[in-house]
């Protein structure tokens, strides 16, 4: 029995446990450099496109971010003149979809060639607590559970909950007997976190299309009088791929301290990128590198971290396990929130879309009635009006029911994942 397909990562690991003898370094030397760091070479030659968002992109209003909303009186057209950008919103999804496909293909080929990717060192990962003995490799195939010390009823609760949130059939313990049986087994559907892989060309091409779409939008939307302000304030939307290219460029130039924005900009050779973007990104990058221990936004000072490391060392193993449990809980709650957010978001989108559709139908009908008003008799017109309103309301009610159904359906789907 194979590991759940949804966990390509552990499957990749499990398939490589057979090669327990080889050292880490050997393995790493075997891997092409590009495996860990996206090959900048390829990206250098093809300008990596980026999503660019202009400050004045939405609704065509004259607005400069520093002055609040006081020059509103000269602004936006009354009523319903807002420009919609259907193309921009749909293309990124396509891009990501393509990205997923191409990267999956990429990952499977990489696994085929280098089955021992994440082997030895990650074996350690599975053995972080004293309470968890290294499973006997000869154990049976039913998915080893090393939790014999747990009281039964608690175990089942956790298991239920864990099973809901974690999709593996038998937890995330590697299937030991299977490893021994099929040393070179690999899962063609496994998904390694995409950032570890080379950025395939397909994705770049799709991204370029996206870039062209967005730059076409901009000139038509940008307000002439604020163009200079908009150019410098033009918002840049970074992607992991673009960032990888950036890192590659910086490394080529001798590191984050030595690289200059101008040189990086030149190396990246990206039409949508300005020196301001590069400059600010470089600054962020430098900060991130030299304060690696601090959390993103909360900017926790280093001293605090050091103290906690020492504290952890002096605490007994039991408490460190508690810490792990606390982290585990935190992670689960976060996962849950994210899951719900995604569901809520798709529901909201559906509502808006279908609401608009019904509105359109309603207006269409009204139009027809307007046209018929002259010819048809009074009572029947009134009747038509009432009917159409009722129809729309009925439509919207049905919509809500549908959404409730689809909400529970999608939740089921998510849980099953």
């Amino acid at each position: 029995m194979t590991m759940a397909n949804d966990f390509g990562y552990p499957t990749a690991i499990s398939s490589s446990f057979s090669a327990l003898h080889t050292t880490v370094e050997d393995r790493y030397r075997k891997l092409p450099n590009s495996f860990w760091v996206s090959s900048g070479q390829e990206l250098m030659n093809n300008p990596v496109p980026c999503q660019t968002v202009s400050g004045g992109n939405s609704g065509g209003y004259l607005f400069s971010s520093s002055s609040g909303y006081c020059n509103v009186s000269t602004v936006s057209p009354h009523g319903r003149n807002y420009q919609t950008q259907p193309t921009v919103s749909t293309v990124p999804r396509d891009r990501l979809a393509m990205q997923d496909y191409s990267l999956e293909a990429q990952s499977s080929s990489l696994i085929n060639h280098h089955p021992q990717e994440f082997a030895d060192p990650l074996e350690e990962f599975f053995d972080f607590s004293d309470h968890v003995p290294i499973p006997n490799l000869q154990t049976e195939s039913s998915g080893v559970r090393v939790d014999s010390s747990v009281e039964p009823h608690k175990k089942s609760e956790w298991q239920d909950w864990a099973d809901q949130l974690i999709s593996a059939d038998d937890g995330s313990e590697p299937n030991w007997s299977e490893l021994l049986g099929e040393p070179s087994s690999h899962n063609p559907n496994s998904q390694i976190p995409t950032s570890f892989l080379d950025v395939p060309r397909q994705e770049i091409i799709t991204s370029q299309q996206h870039l062209m779409v967005s730059s076409e939008d901009q000139p038509s939307v940008r307000n002439p009088s604020s163009s200079s302000a908009a150019t410098s304030k033009q918002r840049m939307r970074w992607t992991p791929e673009l960032h990888e290219a950036f890192v590659e460029a910086v490394n080529q130039l001798g590191g984050s301290e030595r690289a200059t924005p101008k040189a990086v900009l030149k190396l990246l050779n990206n039409p949508g990128l300005t020196i301001y973007h590069v400059k600010s990104h470089l600054q962020k990058y430098r900060t991130a590198r030299y304060k690696p221990e601090t959390s993103e936004v909360t900017g926790e000072p280093q001293e605090k971290k050091m103290t906690s490391i020492e504290d952890i060392k002096s605490l007994d193993m039991k408490t460190s396990v508690e810490i792990t449990q606390a982290l585990r809980l935190q992670m689960e709650v976060q996962k849950r929130l994210h899951e719900q957010l995604e569901i809520q978001r798709s529901l909201q989108l559906q509502i808006e879309k279908q609401g608009r559709y019904l509105q359109m139908m309603f207006e269409k009908q009204q139009k027809i009635q307007q046209e018929n008003k002259g010819s048809s008799s009074e009572p029947s017109t009134k009747q038509c009006n009432t009917t159409s309103v009722a129809e729309v309301e009925f439509g919207l009610e049905t919509l809500t029911e549908d959404l409730t159904e689809s909400a529970s359906a999608s939740k089921k789907r998510v849980r099953e994942d």
């Binding site: 608690k154 864990a162 606390a326 719900q340």
Partner: protein
């Protein structure tokens, strides 16, 4: 006023640097009676604010994401055969990863709250003024950068996968009173954790059912095991690790 209260609570529970980046719901409410251009002007200003903040956070996340990956890689290389050192280092990393994951989720939450707020305030406006501002405006919102959370969500899911692979779900050592003690949260993660739980509970409350339930309303939230989650968390008395 219910949403107004909810969003205020959310803001209070949120990370300090984020607090002034949320929707100014109350302000907008007060502007409903004034001219349309002023109201719309503030709406647009708010969206600008969201976009700027969101895109900047996203950029930070991308950088941090890469750095974490490198860190893992270096760690793995460094602690080849040194299990002891590895175990210590990795426990620190675990915390960072969980917190990073948490922050990203909170950004998605941020996007969602603001979207919801905009939808609600526009609904109010249309109701009060008998106008049709909401629909086209929401259509515009959907195209805004702050609403397009795909990338952040993708990173979130990637780290979930990594966590599962790298830090397995060994529930082996959960003891009988394990739940209560699980309320021990690391001090750095406390803010994030509180915020996350608050976000979940707010979401649940908001979708419980309103007086103005309509075809545009979301169905009630279905959170299985929510009792389990909330029971095991004692927000009022967390025991932080010093």
């Amino acid at each position: 006023m219910k949403f107004g209260k909810r969003i205020k609570e959310q803001i209070q529970e949120s990370l300090p640097e984020w607090r002034d980046k949320f929707l100014c719901y109350k302000e907008l409410k007060n502007l409903i009676s004034s001219s349309e251009s002023i109201f719309v002007g503030l709406l647009n200003a708010e969206m600008e604010k969201f976009n700027a903040f969101f895109v900047e956070q996203e950029e930070d996340f991308i950088i941090h994401h890469k750095e974490l990956q490198y860190r893992i890689q270096r760690l793995v290389e460094k602690c080849e055969h040194n299990e002891e050192m590895f175990r210590e280092e990795i426990s620190e990393m675990r915390k960072d990863i969980v917190n990073f994951h948490g922050e990203m989720v909170l950004l998605v939450n941020y996007s969602n709250i603001n979207y919801t707020g905009l939808a609600k305030i526009l609904k109010k406006y249309d109701k009060r003024r008998g106008s049709g501002l909401r629909s086209p405006f929401m259509q515009k919102v959907v195209g805004q950068p702050f609403f397009k959370t795909d990338l952040v969500s993708r990173l979130v899911r990637e780290w979930e996968t990594t966590m599962e692979a790298v830090f397995p779900a060994t529930m082996a050592v959960v003891e009988a009173e394990g739940y209560e003690r699980s309320a021990v949260v690391t001090s750095s993660g406390e803010g994030i954790f509180r915020n996350t739980v608050a976000a979940l509970s707010t979401m649940r409350e908001m979708r419980r059912g309103s007086s103005t339930y309509s075809a545009f309303s979301l169905p009630p939230l279905n959170l299985p095991d929510s009792d389990l989650v909330f029971r095991s968390v004692h927000l009022s008395s967390p025991i932080p690790i010093p």
